[in-house]
């Protein structure tokens, strides 16, 4: 079974530029998550999709971050304009449903490392 794919793996941009990340979840997984992991911290949920609808985006900085999941499969996360404090690893994860069962598992991709200069 192929895992969660993310691209690019690394990105360096200057502040105020825009950037986009792409995620392809495990086939058949209805739920997709984007997390931000700042160096030395645990992942923080930014947004959760169930198919192509948003379930939770309460921690997404909506003035600069946006995400979409067209057709309920792939997803893109965009930052515009980027700030220095956005330097982090952006992790995409997917699960079969929406973690509604205790035994359900999230599967994480390798992440995209963003450095904002």
């Amino acid at each position: 079974e192929a895992g969660v794919a993310q691209s690019p793996r690394y990105k360096i941009i200057e502040k105020r530029q825009s950037v986009a990340f792409w995620c392809n979840p495990i086939s058949g997984h209805a739920t997709l998550y984007w997390y931000q992991q700042i160096l030395g911290q645990g992942p923080k949920l930014l947004i959760q999709f169930q198919n192509n609808g948003v379930v939770d985006d309460s921690q997404l900085p909506k003035d600069r971050f946006s995400a979409e999941r067209l057709k309920g499969v792939d997803s893109t996360l965009k930052i515009q304009p980027a700030k220095l404090e956005d330097s982090a690893v952006y992790l995409c994860a997917s699960s079969l449903e929406g973690l509604a069962a205790l035994q359900e598992t999230q599967y994480f991709g390798p992440g995209t490392r963003l450095l904002v200069l």
Partner: protein
Amino acid sequence: QKEVEQDPGPLSVPEGAIVSLNCTYSNSAFQYFMWYRQYSRKGPELLMYTYSSGNKEDGRFTAQVDKSSKYISLFIRDSQPSDSATYLCAMSETRTGGSYIPTFGRGTSLIVHP
């Protein structure tokens, strides 16, 4: 005070040692507890989960939860160099809609040297 506290380490041990990793939490509504392992430049992977106080064993790994003290532990027996990674504790409460989204600790870096 953060909801989940975890010492970042690094924790360096010799091969074969018993490792103890710990987290404390402040939110008494947390009822579902997890441990993730994250290798360098990889995403986290779920190691173990537990729902209640007590111990849960899986091979060389034992997860322990003490809800009265708001304290959880992960023990690794006969540690191996391949166990070298960052270990993240995570916990969740049931949200509206019944989704167990985890709140993560910052992770403890473990180094097992031959």
